[in-house]
């Protein structure tokens, strides 16, 4: 599973790179538009160490950011699952904040929180949480009548139980979304670093862009891809384990 992810990533990356190089040679673009193989390899040697630590740094924020966003998504999703006034109010709030591009909100965030670790984490989680929220909302708002009936009619239904039932019935959807959202957490962290400019691979990308160093960017993308593949592979394995542990009800399978 994990290895498959990695070599599949390598294939994807190679195809992308070959495509770029093809364009370069077809349009006979110079090295400063699209770097040649030599330049890429040279850059790789130069920046590998730095970028490696940058990506690791980013990764640590990513993991944390994802945890925060899972918590946020479930918090908002659970609070907003009802079609009551309050539920829809919470949804409107969550949706509207999301419609605001982070670049517009960033100045306000920096005013409120300064530019330390906290801002970076907040931006990362904000980018990552919304897709999670959408799924969680969809799942939490759909009753599982056959299971819930007993608890409702006997007056035993609590919101925790409702959430648990709906989450469990949609466990495979949830694990798909959660492990998939790792990539978003990564992208979010990178954007945060890009804006907040003090550490991580996003910061390095910003510098590379500023220096018009496309080779550097390609290598950064490579490192990001490798690391995210590993992380996601791990998450998926974890997800599988949780599913077997909790022994997903194969409904309808009689």
């Amino acid at each position: 599973m994990l290895f498959r992810r990695i070599y599949q990533f390598l294939i994807v990356y190679s195809i992308g790179l070959l495509f770029l190089l093809l364009i370069k040679s077809v349009l006979s673009l110079s090295d400063y538009v699209i770097p040649g193989v030599g330049l890429i390899i040279e850059t790789f040697h130069n920046v590998f160490d730095t970028y490696f630590f940058d990506v690791m740094n980013t990764m640590s924020v990513t993991v944390l950011g994802q945890c925060v966003s899972i918590a946020m998504a479930f918090g908002v999703g659970i609070a907003g699952r009802r079609s009551s006034w309050m539920g829809s109010f919470i949804k409107v709030t969550a949706y509207n904040i999301q419609a605001y591009p982070i670049v517009a909100l960033a100045p306000i965030i920096f005013i409120l929180l300064g530019d330390g670790f906290l801002s970076r984490l907040l931006i990362a989680s904000m980018i990552c949480y919304f897709p999670l929220l959408l799924s969680v909302l969809g799942i939490m708002a759909t009753p599982v009548v056959d299971i819930e009936h007993f608890y409702i009619i006997t007056g035993r239904m609590r919101w925790q139980l409702e959430v648990k039932i709906r989450a469990f019935e949609n466990l495979s959807k949830l694990t798909t979304v959660i492990s998939g959202s790792a990539t978003l957490a990564m992208a979010g962290t990178i954007v945060a670093e890009f804006i907040a400019a003090n550490a991580g691979i996003g910061y390095s990308i910003r510098i590379a862009l500023y220096q018009s160093n496309l080779a550097g960017i390609l290598i950064a993308l490579f490192m990001i891809g490798i690391v995210i593949s590993i992380y996601q592979g791990c998450l998926e394995t974890l997800g599988e384990q949780i599913k077997t542990r909790w022994s997903v009800s194969k409904r309808g399978n009689i």
């Binding site: 299971i147 009936h149 007993f150 009619i153 469990f168 022994s247 009800s249 194969k250």
Partner: protein
Amino acid sequence: MRLECNNLNFTYPDSDVPVIKSLSFSMETPGFNAVFGPSGVGKTSLARLIAKMESNFKGNIDTRGMDTILYSYNLERLPGWSSTGNHLDRVTPEGKQPLKDRLIDIFELKNILPARFSKLSMGQQNRINLVRYLLQDFSLLIMDESLANVDEKLRESIILSIKNLFADKMFLYISHNLMEVSGFCRDILVFGKPSGNKGCSIIQGRDYKKGYQPDKEALDRTMLEIMNAI
């Protein structure tokens, strides 16, 4: 105390054919009573009305004196995150442990308590579901085909035990098994075919108790009476 309906009319919101038309009947409580009739005649709909799961009906349903009305049906499922035994424990009210053990015995569920719900056979699923309802406090329990997938012998012993253990409660048993309904139920609300114009009537069943002596002739008479009412 009685369950009484007066001139009940009900049509599903998005339909224009009335499901229940000027239905009036009354049943004494407590007792093991039944609703019987052809498929699609409105048994489930009536049950849901009585359990207050549908509104927008016309007429009146009198359930005075019955605090808790439970409706159970045969497609219900238990959550999958732990064993059925665990779930049963969690919904057993304080002090009903002995009753629980009794019921597990009667329903022959001992062996399947460690299993997850989704791994059970259909009859096993039906039985474990019904047991958790019986453990609750209720005045009236509606069993909508709740034992549909259980074999006849076990079903008989389950019904007799329920009647014995819960003599002060009211039950509404919905089933397609004519002999069973005729034999074990007291008041049987029989729905006539919608095409015919027989309407509804209450017919007295044999109301067998534990250790009963089957009286074949009387039973046949009741069955005939019911068939004629349809």
